[in-house]
């Protein structure tokens, strides 16, 4: 540490005379604050980095509470421009999520990013977020990221690698790149695409391929196009195993569009109707109006059956051979007639795990239904990537290696040793290659086996750029110097292609010369400021009026019936709604985020339907062995009502061995069962009981509403007939209280409304809240003990029959009751009401009797049973919001309606001497919600959005019969069921 401070480059900032004198006391303090594990000692600390860490520690001095010694701090002598301690700065940048860039605004406190929000100007987010985006902040401060260049496991440095690589490059250039293979991940960066083009040009003999265990390749099959959807314009939507609201990459934009297409203000308002055919029970299935659960293998056959039905009902000719089927005729014909009736305003989507054949059929369907250019556009893929098949190209690499054609293998990201199809035996493949290079943010299974491991920078630490599929370009600008000395993707690929170490900033600027017209510097600054190239607000979608089938068309024959039964099960591999393909495995927020439907945390399990569980004689937690082709996997069972029968759904991304303290050995590695033949499903899997049990941690044990009016729901027709149905569902005597009530008629009175009809249960709010409010991760054991800390939880109730249920979601936060039962019983007045109607917690005063929690009918209060923040690594503390107090052991906490944001708005309103405007205060959940289901504001202002929402007749207060007078209210769900299919339970044979 001492050495390190002397190494400080540039201007030295000092905090106290002790530091200047480098006294032992100061060193001890420094060591205690920043222990060696932060890995700072191994690198010179740059000025920016130092500033950010110091800024954080100043802030932390405030947030660790009153039990720490108060340290003397002095202000900056010469204050860095634009940094005011305590006042955050906001920067626009782009979160590259595979092929889907998401425009974001990042909040930065004294140089450290603390919170990510959507960029209102960017069409990919419109100010909204999803859980992955929110969780990225924790990935940035992941203490398990690697810090150094390793050569054959020994510490090395970037300069040595550069020398090595230039030697290689000289040899490779002579043979036009023969022997070189470069593997990249799916990306959306024009600069990376340029570099890829350069590579192909310079090394025509080399292999430039892509790999990711999950990709959208199937959707591109048949052409150089990929679909983008406009769910808001569709009246009838059919999803064929597509979880477009959840795990598909466009989930954020799709959720917003879908919610927009169904927003109901008055009875009788138009809304879209969603049909879902799926094996798993996804959140899209939960949001559907009609859902048919079918095994994955039956979806293709269903599509063909639908086409034949459409032909029967007079929709052209598809020239596809049709066999016999047993799908539910009524369901099928109603769906077909609905699609035909809404020609041009319907939309068929297929999930990425469905085979290419289904995608081609869907494209034909959309063309025949006249939807192309209206609700779906097929947009061209950027030319550098047209040849890359991210799912299957490893096969190509494997063959080249087997033919001894590859001497040098370069991998940008990824972890193929962990997730490549097992028949390739990637581990063995690596050994056959002489030189292997891997850029990776952690020393994962792959990095441990390569010659050269280079640390990868997080996107918040590096320069880059991105373009959406419809052509909106934006820049990725770093908010912080690489915390662990990582190398950006652009810098790395540039080094690989050119052999030069150039700063990413330069490279990106160079490739942007062609995008910016007029004065570059002005245009560049504007792009950085706005977060996108404004002239790109593209109309590309609207101009693509047709669909191409320019690639060799796949011949679609009537699919053979796949026999599945309790003895020959179908196993489907699902993208995890929390870990994605495993990249969020070392992120505590995501591990603890419950699966939206199964509510499992910290594990993946073999999910089976209730019927299948009965047939197999298994129950929750039973460990079973799944066997297929000699490969076997042992894992616990979890029963999820609503899954297709004779099928197991298993999430990918778990069971990592070397990704960090959070990820390691959580769940089982489903990739170990995959082959490249069919990487999203296996059929003929046998299940045997092992007799063991394994504890699983779920956040919700009871799925029935027990007939209580908790989530209120009606069909559109019922709503038209009974506009006040929501209020009428609960009866109670006149409500009178003993104690006099506060006067809430003056000033700001905060309230919230949650539209359950819009909510898709995507969990964005939960992660956003966790990030905003420094909510602790408690770990599997404590979740199993029922001690999870989420301030906004997503309740999921099943309705209907157990075999074939539907489900509803309800986000539950503190309801901020005016007659709060918690306040009355607290013996020390630690929870009380403020004059703006907030139910506030005084942590310092709380002695922890837990009486408030017992008396809370909504059970939204969260108790710190242990000191959950004790073991937080120092570096993770940088992710914390300095405006929110950390809670100590023995203290009750709960949703505050983001009181810190209200206070910020109050301060700025006071400074400018104007009242707080409507929409100026948004809670973290409201800000994140991609469906705009949450509205927050001043209920004393008749013109505020929240008052308008609350005035709707669907508005009801949860458990209002207890006279709690909640400030939060819910809007009942309206389902747009087809009158023919209302209460109709489809038969399930196929």
């Amino acid at each position: 540490m001492n050495k390190e401070i002397k190494q400080l480059s540039g201007e030295k900032f000092w905090r106290s005379l002790d530091q200047l004198a480098d006294k032992p006391e100061f060193r001890r303090f420094l060591e205690a604050e920043f222990p060696a594990s932060v890995d700072e000692e191994k690198h010179g600390v740059s000025r920016r980095n130092f500033l950010s860490i110091m800024g954080a520690s100043l802030a932390m001095a405030g947030l660790v509470g009153c039990r720490r010694p108060v340290e003397k701090i002095i202000p900056y002598v010469s204050q860095p421009e634009s940094i005011i301690p305590g006042v955050p700065n906001y920067y626009a940048t782009t979160f590259p999520f595979g092929r889907t860039p998401l425009g974001v605004i990042v909040e930065s406190h004294e140089g450290r990013p603390t919170k990510i929000e959507g960029n209102k100007a960017h069409p990919s987010t419109r100010g909204k977020s999803n859980g992955f985006m929110q969780a990225e902040i924790l990935n940035l401060y992941d203490p398990d990221r690697t810090t150094e260049v390793l050569h054959q496991g020994e510490k090395s440095d970037k300069a040595k690698f550069t020398t090595f690589w230039n030697e290689q490059l000289a040899e490779l250039r002579e043979v036009s790149g023969k022997g070189l293979a470069v593997v990249i991940e799916p990306h959306c960066s024009p600069t990376l695409a340029n570099l890829g083009q350069d590579l192909k040009r310079l090394m025509p003999e080399g292999l430039y391929i892509g790999y990711n265990p999950i990709s959208d390749d199937a959707a591109r099959a048949g052409s150089d196009e990929q679909p983008t959807h406009q769910f808001d314009k569709a009246k009838i939507i059919l999803s064929l195993d597509s979880d477009f609201l959840g795990t598909e990459d466009d989930n954020l934009i799709s959720t917003r569009q879908f919610a927009d297409g169904r927003r109901v203000l008055n009875p009788g308002d138009e809304m879209s109707r969603l049909y879902v055919v799926e094996p798993d029970f996804s959140i899209t299935g939960v949001s559907s109006d009609h859902r048919l659960r079918l095994p994955r293998s039956a979806v293709e056959k269903f599509t063909v059956a639908l086409i034949s039905e459409l032909e029967n009902q007079g929709l052209g000719s598809f020239e596809i051979a049709m066999g016999s089927h047993n799908f539910d005729r009524k369901w099928l014909s109603t769906l077909a007639s609905d699609l035909i009736k809404n020609k041009g305003a319907s939309l068929v989507v297929a999930g990425r795990t469905q085979p290419a054949e289904v995608h081609v059929l869907v494209k034909k369907l959309n063309s025949a239904l006249d939807n192309v250019g209206k609700t779906v556009a097929y947009l061209p893929i950027s030319p550098s990537e047209t040849d890359i098949d991210f799912t299957n190209s490893l096969h190509e690499l494997d063959e080249a290696v087997k033919a001894n054609d590859i001497t040098t293998l370069v991998m940008l990201g990824g972890n193929p040793v962990y997730n490549a199809p097992t028949n390739l035996n990637f581990q063995k493949l690596l050994k056959k290659v002489t030189h292997t290079v891997h850029l990776s943010d952690r020393l994962n299974e792959t990095s441990q086996l390569v010659d050269w491991h280079l640390p990868r920078a997080h996107w918040l630490e590096s320069w880059g750029d991105a373009a959406t599929s419809d052509g909106v370009k934006s820049v990725i600008q770093p908010l912080i110097e690489p915390l662990f000395g990582g190398i950006g993707d652009v810098e790395f690929l540039n080094l690989i292609v050119t052999g030069e170490n150039r700063p990413g900033h330069e490279i990106v600027r160079e490739s942007w010369q062609k995008f910016i017209t007029g004065d570059f510097e002005t245009g560049w600054r504007k792009v950085l400021h706005d977060g996108l190239l404004a002239s790109d607000q593209s109309t590309l979608r609207d101009t693509q009026q047709t669909a191409n089938f320019n690639r060799a068309e796949r011949t679609i024959s009537y699919p053979d019936a796949v026999e599945i039964s309790a003895h020959k099960l179908e196993l489907i591999f699902q993208v995890s709604p929390t870990l994605y393909d495993g990249r969020y495995a070392n992120n505590g927020w995501m591990q603890e985020l419950p699966h939206p439907v199964s509510k499992l945390t910290w594990d993946n399990a073999a999910a089976v339907s209730t019927t299948t569980a009965n047939d197999l004689g298994v129950t929750n937690g039973d460990v079973v062995a799944l066997t297929h082709n000699g490969k076997s996997l042992e894992l616990p069972i979890w029963i999820v009502p609503g899954l297709a029968d004779n099928m197991i759904s298993l999430e990918l991304g778990y069971g990592q061995k070397s990704s960090g303290r959070v990820a390691n050995n959580v769940g089982v590695n489903a990739y170990a069962m995959r082959t490249d033949e069919n990487c999203y499903a296996l059929s003929g899997v046998t299940l045997t009981k092992t007799g063991n049990t394994y504890p699983l941690a779920s956040t919700q044990d009871h799925g029935s509403m027990e007939g209580r009016p908790i989530v209120r729901q009606a069909t559109r027709d019922h709503y038209v007939a009974h506009p006040a149905f929501a209020q009428e569902m609960a009866e109670h005597p006149p409500l009178r209280g003993i104690y006099p009530e506060h006067d809430y008629s003056k000033g700001y009175q905060w309230g919230m409304a949650i539209d359950l009809s819009s909510c898709t249960g995507c969990n964005s709010c939960t992660v956003a809240c966790q990030s905003e409010n420094n909510i602790s991760v408690v770990g599997k054991e404590q979740v199993a003990n029922g001690r999870e800390m989420h301030w906004i939880r997503m309740d999921r109730y099943f309705t209907g029959e157990t075999e074939n249920p539907t489900a509803v979601f309800q986000p539950v936060t503190c309801q901020h009751c005016e007659n709060a039962p918690c306040e009355q019983v607290c013996p020390v007045q630690a929870t009380s009401h403020d004059k703006e109607g907030l139910n506030v917690m005084t942590y310092n005063r709380c002695v922890g009797t837990r009486y408030c929690s017992n008396n809370c009918p909504y059970k939204v209060r969260r108790f710190n049973y242990f000191n959950f923040v004790k073991d937080t690594p120092e570096i993770v503390k940088l992710a914390m919001n300095p405006d929110v107090t950390m809670r100590s052991r023995g203290v009750m906490e709960k949703c505050t309606f983001c009181t810190q944001r209200i206070n910020q708005a109050r301060i700025s309103a006071k400074k400018s001497d104007v009242p707080i405007a409507d929409g100026q205060v948004t809670t973290a959940c409201e800000q994140a919600c991609p469906a705009d289901a949450i509205t927050f504001g001043n209920i004393n202002d008749p013109d505020s959005r929240v008052v308008k929402v609350k005035k709707q007749n669907r508005n009801y207060e949860l458990l209002a019969e207890l006279n709690t007078k909640p400030r939060n209210s819910y809007l009942a769900i309206i389902k747009n069921r087809h009158p023919e299919l209302e209460d109709y339970i489809p038969s399930l044979t196929s």
């Binding site: 919700q700 044990d701 009871h702 799925g703 029935s704 509403m705 027990e706 007939g707 209580r708 908790i710 104690y739 404590q782 003990n785 029922g786 001690r787 999870e788 939880r793 309740d795 999921r796 109730y797 309800q810 539950v812 039962p821 009355q824 019983v825 607290c826 013996p827 020390v828 007045q829 005063r845 709380c846 002695v847 922890g848 009797t849 837990r850 009486y851 929690s853 017992n854 008396n855 009918p857 909504y858 059970k859 209060r861 969260r862 108790f863 710190n864 049973y865 242990f866 000191n867 100590s888 052991r889 023995g890 203290v891 009750m892 458990l959 207890l962």
Partner: protein, 466 residues
């Protein structure tokens, strides 16, 4: 009410001991070397008490998370134990105060250790609310202590009422017990042979010499204290019950709770008195002083209060149905059929079914039967609190928040340890203080009654007067 027929009662004290004999029999217990059994017993109980202190130490170190609590179930064994011990602490004062005011002379043989038991039970009870809070080191925030932080407790909270109710009860019980002890302490002082013993007992006996004025003042003071204590017997558990009744949790929010809790408390308190009396009279051969007649009366009280408790159980069900409140109705059906049904049926069996055996005189007079029943009653009463506290919280309004509660090792060790503390204190008491109120027992002997006609002197078995 006197009847026209002559009412011949069995004597309260058998063997017709002289005043001197009573003094020596009872005093000698604390003067002799303790029997070996006493040492064995106290080494076991004090080990258990140590276990409790270790458990508490670990609790303070690690946090209340070491218990099985979770988010819907914020209160578990600690609160159950608190209510359980406070309940047991009811019998002492009831026997001392209410039976004293009602001139129930049979109380004299058992009131001393019943009062001691009350004090020790309340001490055990008081351990729990203190340690169950999340931040034990600031538990004093619950007291109305003037401070510069402008903090003041919330007088609307029943937990605060608890602090006062139980605190007052403990203080008054302690005074009552001590005042009652004074004449006996003076007796011990007068018999003391060592200097130290003389000195300590001399201080404790506060100059008692048995003069007439002293007796007059003493009896008046005792009467006044009995008057003060009487409403407390009813108030303490009523207030404890408001912890539940004032909340809105289905299964807690019921107006029947105060009388139901008081009846339950008397029920369990008498059961504990019974358990201890049987042990003590056997251990120190006090069969003549604590006679079957005493025990039978206790049994009758248990039969009565047991039925009151049973009535409360059934009326709760009736109201749950009659109110039409779906949450309330669910809670009660869930108690009897849900995940904690085993606890509910233990409670019903022990508290309602088992005491019915006392309708039979034979069983009412059988020492083994009453010993077992008295223990079962306390098991049942513990489960009553378990059912009330846990099953209501675990399954309340929103099913999504429901969770199952199960105790951990530390829940159990603290509870078992509290028995260790209770029994250790009790063993110390029987070793060092007169376990039977000598002066009062003498007062109920025939010799003490100037109107006594000496007909029982020949030990004829008199007709039972019941």
């Amino acid at each position: 009410m006197s009847s026209s027929t002559e009412h011949i009662e069995e004597p309260l004290i058998k063997g017709n001991p002289s005043f001197g004999k009573i003094t020596s029999v009872i005093s000698r217990i604390s003067e002799k070397k303790a029997p070996r059994m006493w040492y064995v017993a106290i080494s076991i109980t004090s080990s258990l008490a140590a276990l409790m202190f270790v458990s508490i130490g670990y609790l303070v170190w690690e946090g209340v998370g070491i218990w099985g609590l979770n988010n819907p179930v914020g209160w578990g064994w600690a609160i159950i134990n608190f209510v359980f011990w406070v309940g047991i602490g009811h019998a002492g004062t009831l026997i001392s105060a209410i039976l004293f005011l009602l001139r129930q002379k049979w109380r004299t043989s058992i009131n001393r250790f019943a009062e001691a038991m009350t004090l020790f039970a309340v001490m055990c009870a008081l351990v729990f609310p203190g340690i169950h809070v999340g931040r034990i080191w600031i538990a004093y925030y619950m007291f109305p202590l003037p401070n510069q932080m402008d903090m003041w407790p919330n007088f609307r909270s029943p937990l605060l009422w608890d602090v006062f109710a139980v605190g007052t009860y403990f203080t008054v019980s302690l005074m009552f017990w001590y005042v009652g002890l004074i004449p006996d302490l003076a007796t011990l002082r007068d018999r003391a042979t060592t200097k130290l013993r003389k000195f300590v007992l001399g201080i404790l006996a506060v100059g008692w010499h048995g003069g007439n004025r002293q007796w007059k003042h003493y009896e008046l003071a005792y009467l006044i204290l009995a008057g003060i204590s009487t409403p407390l017997v009813l108030s303490v558990h009523s207030v404890v019950s408001t912890d539940f009744a004032v909340s809105i949790v289905p299964g807690w929010h019921t107006t029947i709770f105060p009388p139901y809790f008081v009846a339950g408390a008397i029920f369990s308190g008498f059961a504990m008195v019974m358990t201890l009396s049987i042990i003590v009279r056997k251990l120190f051969a006090l069969e003549d002083y604590i006679t079957l007649r005493h025990l039978e009366r206790i049994n009758k009280i248990m039969l009565l209060t047991g039925m009151m408790v049973g009535y409360a159980y059934s009326i709760e069900f009736f109201i749950a149905w009659y109110s039409g409140n779906i949450y309330e109705a669910f809670t009660f059906i869930n108690r009897a059929t849900g995940p904690y049904a085993w606890g509910y049926w233990i409670m019903i069996t022990c508290n309602v079914v088992v005491p019915q055996m006392f309708w039979f005189k034979k069983l009412r007079n059988s020492i083994p039967v009453m010993f077992v029943i008295s223990i079962l009653i306390n098991v049942g009463m513990w489960f009553e609190r378990f059912v009330i506290v846990v099953s209501s919280l675990a399954n309340d309004f929103l099913p999504a928040a429901w969770d199952y509660y199960s105790p951990t090792f530390w829940d159990i060790s603290t509870f078992v340890g509290s028995f260790g503390l209770f029994l250790t204190l009790f063993l110390l008491f029987i070793r060092f203080a007169p376990i039977i109120a000598m002066s009062e027992v003498k007062g109920v002997l025939p010799e003490a009654d100037p109107h006594h006609h000496a007909q029982d002197h020949d030990h004829k078995e008199p007709n039972d007067g019941h």
